[in-house]
């Protein structure tokens, strides 16, 4: 994610700097240099074009047609009917939007601060800090299938750890963590927090290491207590990391997919926009027009935080 965003900034930045010196430099370039340069610029551009821009444009195009995916001559223009289907007739859509919003709020209010807390605690040079770091970061590295199994062990109705601890396992009062549509979104959110907090923790740990120690010293000389030092000095000093975290949290809540998919493929109270996109585009339930419309809706929503991030980044360059 970060690489995808950095490249446009890098390019623009370079261009701005290079402009006055441009003419002098070009003469210095030999033919080999030019070939090497054009290959180095051309290949990433081509990859970008093939993997990102062409599919995007095709998706947008396909969201305005009806197509069975068989013959190109079967494509029929459909106007905005796919969109009106999604907004008016497709029952999982609005619950999915709500769940995405809930996901965002939960990650922003619980998971991200938890990751920050872990980072601050582990930054205190406590013994075994590296081991704790690894433990908290492991969930980020685990594969989808493993995550499914791990949470199944916790949440199972009759044999799960959670119901066992509550003393309700095997009784009719046992909570059906995955099957009950009133609680399964919370169960999924806990699982998501488990991963997201580790991710945020690593980023903040790096950020904390980057804060100049003399700032903290100066604050304590001025008589600031630990809270004041952190919230008034250290936290604002990590502004670049904070922006990255905000964007990551938003994007994580939009791309939330794997956990609900392993639980029940995103049905019965666990609808998310991304799961609906997959259901409508991949496999036997394929409806290309509707799936593309959902993908475009998700793209438009995702553009908001991306534009926010980019404008922040650009703004900084100008200052």
């Amino acid at each position: 994610m970060t690489t995808g965003m950095e490249s446009p900034i890098g390019i623009t930045g370079a261009k701005g700097d290079a402009r006055p010196r441009k003419r002098r430099r070009i003469r210095l370039l030999s033919r080999t240099d030019k070939i090497v340069l054009s290959v180095m610029v051309g290949i990433p551009t081509l990859i970008q074009l093939v993997l990102i821009w062409i599919p995007t444009v095709l998706s947008i195009g396909l969201s305005f047609v009806r197509w069975n995916g068989l013959d190109l001559s079967d494509i029929k223009a459909a106007g905005v009917s796919n969109y009106s289907y999604v907004f008016k007739d497709y029952p999982p859509f609005w619950p999915a939007v709500q769940h995405n919003v809930l996901w965002l709020v939960f990650l922003a209010v619980i998971a991200t601060p938890l990751g920050l807390l872990l980072a601050v605690l582990l930054d205190q040079n406590i013994r075994g800090s590296k081991i704790y770091q690894s433990i908290f970061f492991i969930p980020v590295m685990l594969s989808l299938a493993l995550i499914g199994i791990i949470w199944q062990l916790f949440y199972q109705k009759d044999n799960g750890l959670l119901n066992f601890l509550l003393g309700t396992a095997g009784t009719p009062q046992a909570v059906d963590w995955f099957g009950d549509s009133d609680v399964n979104i919370w169960a999924a959110l806990i699982a998501a927090t488990w991963r997201h907090a580790g991710y945020v923790m690593i980023l903040y740990l790096a950020g904390l290491k980057g804060v100049d120690a003399s700032l903290k010293e100066a604050a304590s000389l001025d008589g600031a207590n630990a809270y004041q030092t952190f919230f008034r000095i250290v936290f604002p000093a990590m502004r670049p990391i904070n922006i990255v975290i905000v964007v990551i949290t938003i994007i994580e809540s939009l791309r939330a997919f794997d956990i609900v998919y392993v639980i029940n493929r995103g049905t019965n109270g666990l609808e998310l926009i991304s799961a609906l996109v997959i259901q409508n585009l991949v496999g036997e339930g394929q409806v290309i027009g509707v799936g593309s419309a959902l993908a475009v809706i998700l793209l438009v929503i995702s553009l908001v935080p991306i534009v926010f991030y980019l404008s922040r980044a650009f703004g900084k360059e100008k200052v």
Partner: protein
């Protein structure tokens, strides 16, 4: 890493999105990977107009990737090669991939013959001209099959496309000893079923076991109530969307189901069919409406011998004539139609000999051809076979009879909602059906 990449990756996977690249890749892949089978096959099928009789080989695409069915089809091709001297080059593809990529498969370079199901999905591709009719094969194998099988093998144009191999019936499974001990009797009417359920409930057991976490098992209950209430033809017309969902006949199905809902396992939405099978085996529940594959879960032979089965009781129409028994079998691709060897292979599959070869490795299913060896059948298998043989019509299960998008994207969540609180919006089902079927 990002949502964007993920989504675009999904977009790029979409069959037919960038058709030319995709076809080219497929073509190159076929040459590169399947060079040898291709070379040996090009004497026959690939030469258009050439007399087909000369061919001595065919290619066979199999989605039966699990150990047991894979061995089953291997036995069939071996027996066929031994009998006819025709070589069969089998390409086994993991079954989910095979099903998900069938669109591109049929338009790219499909094998001559391939495994598939009866039902809408077969008829749909037949209607699009991607399959070869096999009426010539049916002239030979016709007498081996019941009328219900013939009906299920026929395409929308009245020609036959499909050759059945095996199927498995859906019905209520229960433990004989448990029922004998409690004095329960097999219900033959819907009223008897509900009063039996009420009795079981007072005895402190879950009357009707049910699992719908995966979403598809609920189709079985819907299909049966619909067929018993409105008849087989209505089921076919509704799934083909020749009938509207927004009508009394459909709401009646749900109203009838509401009478059963209190007796079905309330934890259904969090359970898989394997969980439910266990609960039936443990005598926690009285009966379980599922396909006969439920018996795979009973590994203890004594328990397995204790399992019996009865068809869904009659409600209003056609008694118990219709049976839900999804059929698996073979089809010929458009290209395979030119290869006489492929026709011969399908004909072989439609004989007791071919199906016995399959059943020798996979005895859990019921061979469809008359005269297939039943000597190895357990009493339960025998009963399943008799129910199918006696059926006037065979339905294929909702997700095979209907447009897959209708089944997976619309009905699956709708039925889960219905199980949760008994509410259903048939107007909305119709609105969704209209959009989805129009896109086909």
């Amino acid at each position: 890493m990002s949502s964007i990449e993920e989504r675009f990756a999904a977009g790029a996977n979409r069959p037919g999105l960038d058709r030319r690249t995709l076809l080219k890749t497929l073509g190159v892949g076929a040459v590169g990977l399947a060079g040898i089978p291709l070379l040996s096959a090009c004497t026959g099928g690939s030469a258009p107009g050439a007399s087909a009789t000369a061919s001595k080989s065919l290619s066979f695409g199999s989605g039966s990737s699990d150990e047991v069915p894979k061995a089953g089809y291997k036995a069939v091709t071996d027996a066929f090669t031994k009998k006819s001297g025709i070589t069969v080059n089998t390409n086994v593809v993991p079954h989910n991939d095979f099903q998900n990529k069938i669109n591109t498969y049929l338009q790219g370079s499909p094998d001559d013959a391939f495994t598939w199901f009866a039902g809408y999905r077969m008829q749909y591709y037949a209607g699009k001209g991607l399959l070869t009719p096999v009426d010539d094969v049916w002239e030979k194998i016709g007498p081996n099959f019941s009328d219900a099988m013939k009906k299920a093998s026929t395409g929308p144009d009245g020609k036959k496309y499909f050759v059945p191999n095996y199927n498995y019936p859906w019905g209520f499974f229960y433990r004989k000893s448990f029922w004998a001990e409690k004095g329960y009797e097999v219900p033959t009417t819907f009223d008897a079923l509900t009063s039996l359920s009420a009795k079981m409930q007072t005895d402190g057991i879950i009357p009707i076991e049910f699992a719908d976490k995966d979403g598809w098992p609920a189709f079985g209950t819907f299909d049966y109530i619909n067929m018993r209430l409105n008849g087989y033809q209505f089921h076919m017309d509704l799934t083909a969307h020749k009938e509207s969902w927004d009508q009394k006949k459909v709401s009646d199905v749900f109203d009838t189901w509401k009478a059963l809902l209190p007796y079905q396992n309330p934890g259904a939405l969090g359970m898989t069919w394997q969980d439910s099978a266990k609960s039936l085996g443990d005598k926690k529940s009285g009966m379980y409406l599922l396909g006969s594959f439920v018996t795979q879960q009973f590994t203890d032979p004594a328990l397995l011998a204790d399992i019996d089965f009865f068809p869904f009781p009659e409600i209003a129409m056609e008694g118990m004539d219709a049976v839900e028994a999804p059929i698996d079998g073979l089809l010929l691709s458009k290209k395979g139609g030119q290869n006489q060897a492929a026709h011969d292979f399908l004909a072989f599959m439609g004989t007791a000999e071919g199906q016995d070869a399959y059943a020798s490795k996979d005895p859990s299913n019921i061979a469809t051809a008359k005269g297939a060896d039943q000597s190895n059948f357990s009493p339960l298998n025998k009963k399943c076979a008799d129910v199918i043989a006696g059926a006037k019509s065979i339905s294929q299960f909702f997700d095979r009879d209907a447009l897959p998008a209708m089944a997976n994207n619309v009905m699956l969540p709708a039925l889960q909602g219905f199980i949760k609180d008994g509410s259903i919006d048939v107007k909305n089902l119709e609105a969704q059906a209209k959009t989805l079927y129009a896109a086909q």
